[in-house]
């Protein structure tokens, strides 16, 4: 018997049996679909979290970054002395350095006067730390006293800033300090901050009167072209105080992501949710396959009496599992895409459905169905013709 018919005949019977009882088929598909959506949403939230966690650092322009070793992530920095950063200028490959000040502060909604916390980034406008054109083009205006730029992608609770600015209403308060919004830029919210503003280092000190320019939260180092990143990083690591981390750009992104994945147990929570979704799906599919075998045991015993081998029924069960996986996954994918759009519109965080994610989830669901099939085939031994006729 050739390979094609080896799979084809039991698969065809499985297909016909599935479609014979439409009500049961719909229930079975709904079970797989449920697991599918659960897994997609968990992974979607997790990836969205990771993507938003690194939304700020991805816009930073620099080659090497200094952070205090006690800083778990950018949103909760531990300050260190600016001299650490300035000392790196002694290395011949270092072109320029700039401090970055970070702070969470309440921002007053211009319309409703309610306050909500956002992230304030302070840096020397000429240092061009943010690789965002709109920020760069306003670097002279940012030098003026009490001016900030507002992140257009902040949550709507901060007020319709674009409309307000066009209407000339620019005055508000951050940390109870009166400032003027001089423009908009685009960054994006994260789990740590619902919104962002950028301002100059001097204005930052005015907003946070307790802060001192000598205590910086992050140091950004730019190298001369052609310098070896790894070499300079290794050289500087030797010279720097032991309480300072020195990261490359990708290390910084990894550090931020790792915080959310491991230090904050959020990565674990979503991973756990994914596994739970698969376990629930496994139980559902197992139940479906199990009752399917029980319901068809007379038919299977009949086929056995006709001369069909045990392995035929094993293939039939796995074919059923495969069809359930595919038939549940397709509507699951379609529904998840629209749920992603819904979540994006509610959370203001990116939630992309990538091809890779779809493939991953399909293999999760397929493995889930196959494991369920593997558990269910033990029931096949009940279909023994000698005991039935």
């Amino acid at each position: 018997m050739n390979m094609l018919s080896w799979c084809y005949f039991p698969a065809r019977l499985a297909w016909r049996q599935l479609f014979h009882d439409r009500t049961k088929l719909v229930a079975a598909i709904a079970g797989v679909l449920f697991a599918c959506i659960l897994v997609f949403m968990q992974l979607g939230f997790r990836d969205s979290l990771y993507a938003s966690a690194v939304s700020a650092p991805t816009k930073l322009s620099g080659d090497l970054f200094l952070m205090h070793k006690q800083s778990e992530a950018m949103w909760r920095p531990v300050s260190f002395n600016r001299n650490e950063l300035l000392r790196t200028l002694g290395h011949p490959a270092v072109a320029e350095v700039a401090p970055l000040y970070l702070g969470l502060a309440p921002f007053k909604n211009i319309e409703t006067q309610t306050k909500r916390t956002l992230m304030v980034y302070g840096f020397d406008p000429d240092a061009e730390l943010f690789d965002v054109d709109s920020v760069r083009s306003k670097r002279h205006e940012l030098r003026l006293k009490d001016t900030v730029m507002f992140d257009e992608f902040s949550r709507p609770e901060f007020g319709p800033m674009r409309a307000l600015l066009e209407a000339g209403r620019t005055e508000t308060e951050i940390n109870d300090y009166k400032i003027g919004v001089i423009g908009l830029f685009r960054l994006g919210v994260s789990f740590a901050a619902d919104g962002n503003v950028v301002t100059s280092d001097l204005n930052f000190m005015r907003i946070f009167p307790g802060r001192h320019p000598g205590d910086i939260d992050m140091g950004v180092i730019k190298l001369y072209p052609g310098a070896s990143l790894e070499q300079v990083q290794a050289d500087l690591a030797e010279r720097l105080n032991e309480f300072v981390n020195i990261f490359t750009f990708s290390e910084l992104l990894g550090y931020e992501k790792n915080y959310w994945a491991n230090t904050a147990p959020i990565g674990f929570i979503f991973g756990f949710g994914t596994v739970m979704g698969l376990v629930v799906g496994l139980v559902i599919v197992y139940q479906i396959l199990f009752t399917d075998i029980v319901n068809h045991r007379y038919e299977f015993a009949t086929l056995k009496a006709m001369g069909y081998k045990q392995s035929y029924f094993v293939r039939l069960v796995f074919a059923t599992a495969f069809f359930l996986a595919v038939l549940g996954f397709i509507p699951g994918l379609v529904l998840s895409i629209s749920l992603y759009h819904l979540a994006e519109s509610q959370m203001f965080m990116p939630m992309p459905m990538t091809f890779g994610k779809a493939i991953n989830v399909f293999f999760f669901i397929l493995s889930m169905c196959f494991i369920a099939g593997f558990l269910a085939i033990r029931k096949l031994k009940d279909a023994n013709p000698a005991d039935m006729f």
Partner: protein, 225 residues
């Protein structure tokens, strides 16, 4: 005439316990090619057990059971499967697959061997269904057929593989008199045409007239009627 089923001194009981009641005691019977043998007897006499042993569905350990030249006593699964494939089995209930049409059900016998194309299989199945008088019911599923029609489909399924032996277990038990006699009449006609032997167990005395020979099994012992 050659012998297709040769049973000698077959003993069988449902457990290996020495005190267990034997179901079959020293059964000896042989069936010729093309012969139609009906085995009667009260229920519980061991008829069905005997049939399942001859059909390779049940393992026996004591005596000799040669079917189509293969010994079934202490046989491997392979031998049993091979005997099942060469035997047409007709069940008390029709035992058709609910999800398949009459034609697809009959075709299942041929799918097992995979020696034909799909078209040939369906053609053979259609011819067989025509032979049992159901050429207008090819695309009906079992629950759209009457009891007699279902049993005729199951006869077609048993015969389409051109088996040398047909084993039938009370094929008329769930049928009324007329459709029962119709069904066994068809069975006899087709078996005679193809030269197949039939071993039919029943306690339906209305159909004894189709047999070449009737034997009676009582308390596990064969008596020639």
């Amino acid at each position: 005439m050659s012998i297709v089923i040769d049973v000698r001194n077959l003993n069988f009981s449902f457990s290996h316990d020495a005190q267990a009641l034997p179901v079959l005691k020293n059964v000896t019977i042989s069936i010729q090619k093309g012969e139609i043998v009906i085995m009667t007897g009260p229920s519980g006499s061991g008829k069905t057990t005997f049939l399942t042993i001859v059909g390779g569905l049940r393992q026996a350990f004591d005596g000799s059971v040669e079917v189509l030249g293969q010994q079934l006593i202490n046989s491997s699964d392979q031998v049993k499967v091979s005997i099942r494939q060469q035997t047409g089995y007709i069940f008390q209930q029709h035992n058709l697959l609910k999800s398949l049409t009459a034609q697809q059900n009959v075709s299942m016998t041929l799918e097992m061997f995979n020696t034909m194309t799909e078209r040939e299989r369906l053609e053979h199945a259609a011819q067989m269904l025509k032979a049992v008088g159901l050429d207008d019911r090819l695309d009906h599923k079992p629950d759209q057929l009457s009891g007699g029609q279902r049993q005729r489909v199951s006869i077609a399924r048993a015969l389409v593989g051109q088996p040398k032996i047909i084993l039938a277990d009370e094929p008329t038990a769930s049928l009324d008199k007329q459709s029962g006699q119709e069904a066994v009449g068809i069975l006899k006609r087709l078996a005679k045409e193809s030269g197949a032997s039939i071993l039919l167990v029943t306690h339906d005395y209305r159909i004894l007239d189709i047999a070449d020979r009737v034997v009676e099994l009582e308390d596990g012992i064969i008596r020639n009627a």
